[in-house]
């Protein structure tokens, strides 16, 4: 990576393995919301055949089917770059299969536990039923409160260990286990809201940016805020 000390460096991990459904949206919206505030950005796509750079600001991991998920976890563990970056204070935002991968362990298709990257104290396994549909959750008060909405499509159930905390409390849908949704530990954050979770939750995108660059100037509400309201109302009134 070139030296761009004043730019926000967005690193999308393994779009070839972990990009199931709209995961690109998270990188695009981080870039846009930073640039609207005059913050320069640089986005790097790291393929599974390449080393993970350690100088990024925000690392993004998307969803994936069972086999790509296992491969991605193996390659990330062998590479070590993501773990070093997270330990050095980078922000990590991981959805669905990516969320499971950054934990301590996750289940394969027969629910045998496999080791994760180990930067978030969660353990995931397979549930009895698949969680599919719109989800609404109330964000932990210490993260500023408010609600997140998204679409979940997974069979995972995730248990949060003592070093991590729930991202939110489930209002509609399943999330981790029907009680809580997602988890965070320092600046490492995981969620079952799959695909374009940041486009649908502009406040969450802003939180990740502010973790790296400090307090942000507010933006005029636009289509992101309208979509957030629309989906929230649709899910709560369904």
């Amino acid at each position: 990576m070139t030296d761009t000390s004043s730019a926000l460096r967005i690193v999308w991990i393994y779009p070839d393995l972990l990009s199931t459904y709209g995961d690109q949206g998270n990188a695009l919206v981080l870039k846009r919301r930073a640039e609207l505030r005059g913050i320069r950005t640089e986005t790097v796509h790291v393929l599974s055949s390449d080393p993970v750079p350690t100088g990024g600001d925000v690392y993004l991991l998307g969803g994936g089917e069972d086999r790509p998920q296992i491969l991605a976890a193996q390659r990330l563990r062998a590479d070590g770059g993501l773990k070093r970056a997270a330990e050095a204070g980078a922000a990590v935002f991981a959805v669905c299969a990516g969320y499971q991968i950054i934990g301590e362990s996750f289940g394969d298709d027969a629910d045998n536990p496999l080791p994760g990257v180990g930067i978030l104290d969660v353990r995931s396994g397979r549930g009895e039923t698949r969680a599919v549909g719109e989800i609404v959750a109330a964000i932990a008060p210490e993260l500023g409160g408010g609600r997140i909405t998204g679409f979940e499509n997974h069979q995972g159930r995730t248990h949060i260990g003592p070093s991590a905390r729930p991202l939110s409390t489930t209002v509609v849908g399943i999330g981790n286990d029907g009680q809580t949704e997602g988890a965070y530990q320092g600046q490492v954050l995981g969620t079952y809201l799959h695909g374009p979770a940041l486009p649908r939750n502009p406040a969450l995108a802003d939180m990740l940016i502010s973790w790296r660059v400090g307090q942000l100037a507010p933006l005029e509400p636009s289509w992101g805020e309208r979509l957030h309201e629309e989906r929230l109302n649709a899910a709560l009134n369904a």
Binding site: P15, D16, L17, S19, T20, Y21, G22, D23, Q24, G25, L28, V29, R32, L47, S48, S49, E65, D66, R67, P68, L71, V132, G133, E134, F151, N153, H194, G195, P196, P199, S222, W223, G224, R226, L227, E230
Partner: protein, 418 residues
Amino acid sequence: MSELPLRAQLASVLGKGAASLSRATGRGDGSVIGGRVALKVEPDLLSKLARGRRLALVSATNGKTTTTRLITAALRDLGEVATNDQGANMPTGHITALSRYPDARVGVLEVDEKYLPQVIRDTKPAVTVLMNLSRDQMDRASEINLLAKKWRDVLRTSETHVIANADDPLVAWAGLGAQHATWVAGGQRWKEDSWCCPECGGHLKRDPDPHWECPECGLRRPDASWAVDNASDSVIDPNGGALRLDLGLPGDANRSNAAIALATAAAYGIHPKQALPRLREIRSVAGRYTSVVTHGVEVRLLLSKNPAGWLESFAVLGPPDVPVLLSVNAQIPDGKDTSWLWDVDYTVLRDRRVFVLGERRTDLALRLETDGVAFETADRVDDVVARLKGERPDLTKVDVIANYTAFQQIRAAYGRVQ
């Protein structure tokens, strides 16, 4: 029909009755209800109806209905062809189609991707045609790697002659399981679902396009005997001869569909030069690519249900001064999850007049805003066309791209145009 056992004949007749009733009462085209009634009476009906016929099954994520129509047209010279041309592509629809054409010795059936293994087992098709696999309606469809594996498994134990696109790694891997295969270099514009080896997960080496191979396990693109050449609007046949296509349907995707149709016709003994004029006659398929004229403007309807389909539609848009209307719903047939909108690159629309419509227009609006595409929102296609014509009296064309139920709503508003 007379060769069918009595119970199967009865089932078939009852099914046809239910289908007519459905059409007469305006509840539908009868394809699904007819098959359902018939299956109650004779659960083995599909196998029995298929017996003694030379069937071609056609499956893919995109282009199934169109390719089924092209192959059907190419095979007409063999006599009557049984086909499910209304797009009812599950076993109930196949039963209805085969019942409707009891004497047809040849049949071409569009098959839903998930049902393909079952329908291959039930109908023992002479030919199985496979074009592409990509992400589609993931809230209700199965993962495509899993789907490709199921295709591969059934093809390993089947006698069917596979005619498949060598340029789509997932499709090729499935087809490589078959005992007899004809490969067509049909191209692949959308590559986001095939960067990894279907066999071992390794990162595929994909250049020069369309070549692909896995550096880890050695799986590689099979050599193709037929090929599309988009630059010269031609298909290259197994003898190296170039056939100018000059189709009535637009775009590279339809050149690929036509190449597959010509290869399939050849498997039935029909020479490409004989088949090609039949393909050229087709200008729209169940409303797809059709144009309606309203307020003196030609409104062209393009159906696109997933990222790969939207990419193909963008590639056939008119010149930059042709406005484009995008309409998206998220009903059950569309998939209730609109995440896929983020897999499409909209920057190609930046210099065009764009309108967003449909039940999920807010999702589209945010997506376009993020890609820096200026747009306006609207409720109805007709309102937009009237307004545009008022602003620009010289306007002659607009393009509409819509996903499944949005497309059907627009089509219905124009009297279910074909």
